[in-house]
């Protein structure tokens, strides 16, 4: 953890009305590691991720990036600092082509001043970087394809390319493999392994085979609280976790 960047949540709390969705959560991820966040539906995984990305304000607790308190920095502000999230539901911009979606993410992240009178699509440097990113995530379609013409699997790849376009050091990925065919899951798992070299990844995921094969560390949430955290081997042997998942299967 000495090199690279680390994102750390300390004692995060969140209520939605009477519902206590996050209970004094400690969670951290750093460059070179994949930290998976698992747990049954409604455990508060996405909420925790939203609190770490700056989308949701926490009732209590702090978030630190390399030790610096970034609790009061909002969603776009944290993107500037290199923390970027994806969403469970694919949400590319339907009005733009595949290449333009990535270019839009590039310009949203890098342009801090309004530019009114240049053509956004005329920036060939940005267009090439967008095509490179598409290539990096293994998406080999014509950049001028409308996003509405992509199937579910390729849309998920596009989502990752858009996150990478913001130049993040920490990726917060919310079920990137949801709804993918087995072959696609394997390819995306390979991609995450490759991305781990230069990024830290906090991964919310339901596919247990994937989680146990690629994660360096696993945290199990139930009803908003951490019930176990450790290496995949430790988690597999944890009595509480087994009970939780057996309960779910029964």
């Amino acid at each position: 953890m000495s090199d690279g960047v680390s994102l750390e949540a300390r004692g995060l709390d969140k209520h939605f009305g009477n519902l206590h969705v996050t209970r004094s959560l400690d969670l951290g991820v750093s460059t070179g590691r994949i930290h998976a966040l698992i747990g049954p539906n409604g455990a508060g995984k996405t909420t925790a991720l939203s609190q770490m990305s700056g989308e949701l304000r926490s009732d209590a607790g702090t978030v630190h990036l390399d030790g610096v308190d970034i609790t009061d920095i909002d969603l776009p502000g944290r993107v500037d600092l290199g923390v970027c999230r994806s969403y469970q539901t694919s949400s590319p911009f339907p009005d733009f082509t595949v290449g333009e979606n990535v270019a839009l993410a590039l310009l949203a992240a890098e342009e801090k001043r309004f530019r009114f009178f240049t053509r956004a699509s005329a920036d060939t440097g940005r267009r090439h970087r967008a095509e490179e990113l598409l290539h990096d995530v293994g998406l080999d379609v014509d950049a001028s394809t409308p996003v509405t013409a992509l199937d579910h699997g390729t849309t998920r790849q596009l989502e990752i390319a858009m996150v990478l376009a913001t130049g993040p050091s920490i990726l917060l990925l919310d079920e990137p493999m949801a709804g993918l065919a087995p072959g696609e899951v394997a390819m995306l798992a390979d991609l995450l392994r490759r991305l781990r070299e230069k990024h830290g990844i906090l991964l919310v995921e339901h596919d247990m085979d994937v989680v146990f094969s690629i994660a360096d560390e696993i945290t199990v949430l139930a009803d908003g609280a951490v019930i176990a955290t450790g290496t995949p081997t430790e988690i597999r042997e944890d009595g509480n976790v087994q009970a939780l998942y057996l309960r779910d299967e029964r």
Binding site: L75, A108, A109, V141, E184
Partner: protein, 339 residues
């Protein structure tokens, strides 16, 4: 994963944005503008010369509708307050003309001063109201802009030095540099030139990096923030730009009617601008001009046949919206979009 070919089968046409013929929306834009440009001679040729003044109003309200379409069609922010920006432009230019006619100092009939000043006033009020209105979205945004509109309407009604709710006649129009605008045809072409410039400006804006962020925020504002854009800043700037051009239209409108009246700030005028872009085609820019033309010409024609013209105009509007979800511009564009 899977390779896919663009434009494969099974893709619904409505969502399939065609990019190969990017020039088509621009061609339609140019054709509509050319048609408007030669319209004064066309109506003369077919013996409808009395429509001349309506054409000037088509151009002026078309300009305001194009500005409104920028934030509604491309920004997803439905404003029911644009009549107040029309009125702010009217009052800025009108008040200067009133004082000029009274022979008082600091007054001017010079359009080169009054019209940019009108745009500045519109932009400043747009920033002020925009900051507050943009704390909300959706239906609440519509309601807040409507509330500001009503507030300004009552304010204009109390301006006794300028006739209060009766308004006041303007003996003269603005002068554009050395050019007198008293001749209706001259005035038409000055307004037309400004309309063409406005259409060009907004067509550039929607293709700029700024416009991309505004359009992205329309479709998914949260996602736009999640890739690093501070969307409210962009939306505020877009709102102020739109307001500023609406105020330019207001400055022209008070010159057209030569009558400064708070009626132009009534919320139904905001509604009429919205109807224009719905009929003409939201998210096309040129649709605002088409809508203004259809609406005002329908009105003029129907009024000759019946006193209940609004009833028949209403039926016409329902038919247009039923037949063409994306308005008249949508019919002309087919699967294409102006982006």
């Amino acid at each position: 994963m899977s390779r896919i070919a663009p434009g494969r089968d099974g893709i619904p046409d409505e969502t399939h944005v065609e990019r190969t013929t990017w020039w088509r929306p621009l061609l339609i834009t140019v054709l509509v503008l050319v048609l408007v440009g030669i319209a004064p001679f066309l109506v003369d040729a077919v013996g409808l010369g009395y429509l001349q003044r309506s054409l000037t109003r088509v151009v002026i309200l078309g300009l305001a509708a194009v500005a409104l379409d920028f934030i509604v069609g491309y920004g997803g922010l439905v404003s029911l307050g644009h009549a107040m920006f029309l009125a702010l432009g009217s009052y800025t230019t009108g008040v200067l003309l009133v004082h000029l006619s009274r022979g008082e100092g600091l007054a001017t009939g010079q359009a080169l001063i009054a019209w940019p000043l009108s745009m500045l006033v519109g932009a400043l009020f747009g920033l002020g109201f925009g900051v507050l209105a943009l704390r909300t979205r959706g239906v609440y945004f519509i309601m807040v802009t409507l509330a500001f509109n009503q507030m300004m309407f009552f304010l204009f009604n109390t301006l006794e030095p300028y006739g209060g709710d009766d308004g006041v006649r303007l003996p003269e129009r603005s002068r554009l540099g050395p050019l007198s605008l008293e001749a209706d045809l001259t005035f038409f072409y000055v307004c037309f030139t400004l309309l063409v410039l406005t259409v060009i400006v907004f067509n550039i804006l929607i293709r700029s990096p700024f416009g991309w962020v505004v359009r992205g925020a329309r479709d998914n504002e949260l996602r736009m923030k999640a890739i690093g854009a501070r969307t409210p800043r962009y939306q505020l700037a877009a709102f102020a730009i739109s307001a500023s051009f609406a105020s330019l239209a207001g400055a022209l409108a008070v010159n057209e009617s030569q009558f400064l009246s708070p009626d132009i700030s009534h919320w139904t005028q905001s509604g009429e601008l919205l109807v224009m872009i719905i009929v003409g085609g939201m998210g096309s820019l040129i649709g605002g001009v088409i809508g203004a033309g259809v609406l005002l010409v329908l009105e003029e024609l129907a009024i000759d046949f019946t006193n209940n013209w609004q009833f028949f105009v209403g039926i016409g509007l329902i038919l247009i919206v039923l037949v063409a979800r994306r308005g008249v511009a949508g019919l002309l564009l087919g699967r294409h979009r102006n982006v």
